[in-house]
Amino acid sequence: MTSPIRVLVAKPGLDGHDRGAKVIARALRDAGMEVIYTGLRQTPEMIVNAALQEDVRVIGLSILSGAHNAIVPRLMELLREKDMTGLVVVVGGIIPDEDARQLKEKYGVAEVFQPGASLEEIVNFIRSATQQPA
């Protein structure tokens, strides 16, 4: 038996709409993953520290406020500084196509899930992304 995938579900920025983050956290837990939910209003620094301390393989960010272009690049930069680029970072929320492409190609986000993405799709993606060697 391999140990369960550990995932940090994080809600950065000022936005308090946590319905999506909570639903995802429960779905990942039901799929057998170990989920740590940061709670609201976390800075990129707080999220990276939590990821380090909790020794997670995956960070899932939920952003609905349109602040993704400020938050995600900063978080990816911190991961590089701390030599944590092996982590799989996924982002969910209201992210326009053009921004989603840029977050993936330019900043190294593994996947962006837009509204309407199914829980199954997200679970499967995390499973397959964590199977590859870091």
């Binding site: 000022l14 946590d18 319905r19 639903v23 602040a67 829980l119």
Partner: protein, 533 residues
Amino acid sequence: MKLRAAGTGERRCESMSGIPLEPYYTAEDAAGMPVLPAPGEFPYTRGIHETMYRGKLWTMRQFSGFATPEETNERYRYLLSQGQTGLSVAFDLPTLMGVDGDHPAAAGEVGKCGVAISSLADMETLFRGIPLGDVTVSMTINSPAPVLFAMYLAVAGQQGADRAKLSGTLQNDILKEYIAQKEFLYPPRPSMRLVTDVIEFCAREVPKFNPISISGYHIREAGSTAVQELAFTLRDGIEYVDWALERGLKVDEFAPRLSFFFNAHNDFFEEIAKYRAARRMWAYIMRDRYGARDERSWKMRFHTQTAGCSLTWQQPYNNVIRTTIQALAGVLGGTQSLHTNSLDEAYALPSEHAVTLALRTQQVIAYESGIPEVADPLGGSYYLEFLTNEVERQANEYIRRIDGMGGMIPAVEQSFPQREIAEASFRYQRQVEKGEAVIVGVNRFQSEEDERIELLQIDDSAARRQQERLAALRRERNSARAESCLGRLRKAAEGKENTMPHILDAVKAYVTVGEICQAFRDVFGAWTETSVL
């Protein structure tokens, strides 16, 4: 209740709140039907006015705000020129969270979800050329509500408007922030004190302004059922009444100005039942629980907004149809004002084209459909009366449970409503995953290629302009005066007096939203919630 033919197994046979549904309803199911009082009569199940929309149509009030005060001012003037009848201000997240546009926490958020307002100078620009004595203004703001309200009053004063005639609505509903939307700054009790300060101030000085809009909308958006939305909202209302009475106000001094705000979601009949049940429940609460004597205290007035969370990213034009059906539910339920969402709002704040179409949706219902001619046209439908009774029964059950916990504040502290909502939203998501709940274009009837729509883009220049403006303001204002206003405000917060007059003095001295909220934070402390999954 007698058993009827079972559902065919494949079809969904319960309401969105999980009320089991029969294939049809009879007079037997609609207990109390023969004596249902007419519209305009207690307990107002059928509406608060006898002639309803014949006397006055609902107010068409599109919630709007983006980027800088200049750009939003332009949008307001456009909407008014297109026949919109009231304004509704959407603030950006930094403003909602009581931080100024030049604060590090505001990075990437300025002007994104609404208009950035940090000081009275911004508010002056926002309402330039809009006569506040004539146009009713609704402001969606909660923790910093007293500050933004004070700025509005200051601008109205500059325009020469009579405070006693100003009309509009301040959301100012902090309880649903702890329950659902999570835009809170201070712990519940000092927050409730600030809410009560505004209610008291309005009762004395701005008597035509609604000092609070007790909101189920956000509770529903967070994933609650219709029954939970109704129950938690009315229980919040009870809490505000208790606090105002505790302050020494008489119930009929403030209750006529309590207003409500509900969601209009997809389950057409259940939504109409919810509005009818809400009016009836509130009428009984006010008359029997509080002994209110003024009829106006018994009459629940509410705003409705169609369900943002029902909008889909896929096949966005379907959103126009969803919104139309939801808007119809609001109108058939007797709403006093209505916001219809725009088709592009699953992506972004609405473009001018999209918001115009959303307004036209209301105008078609109002002027072409014939629906507004007769009050409560669905009253007497066996099904609707059954649902109204059932929604009311289940909501009252929740209210009794929360009473048993000692009220909404202990309930919130124990995460009771938060947990109920998280359960309901997870259950619904599961139904979507299994295809039991159908979302056209998402889990059924998908298309290969989605239609492209044009979106409103807000670039970072808004943030830059806002920061420059703030830097100039801090440089140019009389800083000694600003400091002394802040000092007096802090002192008032530490004591028991009403903070509103001090907030007014401070905003007139161009003290910013962030500075005032920080002063309150210094006195009251900050609130962080225990997250429940």
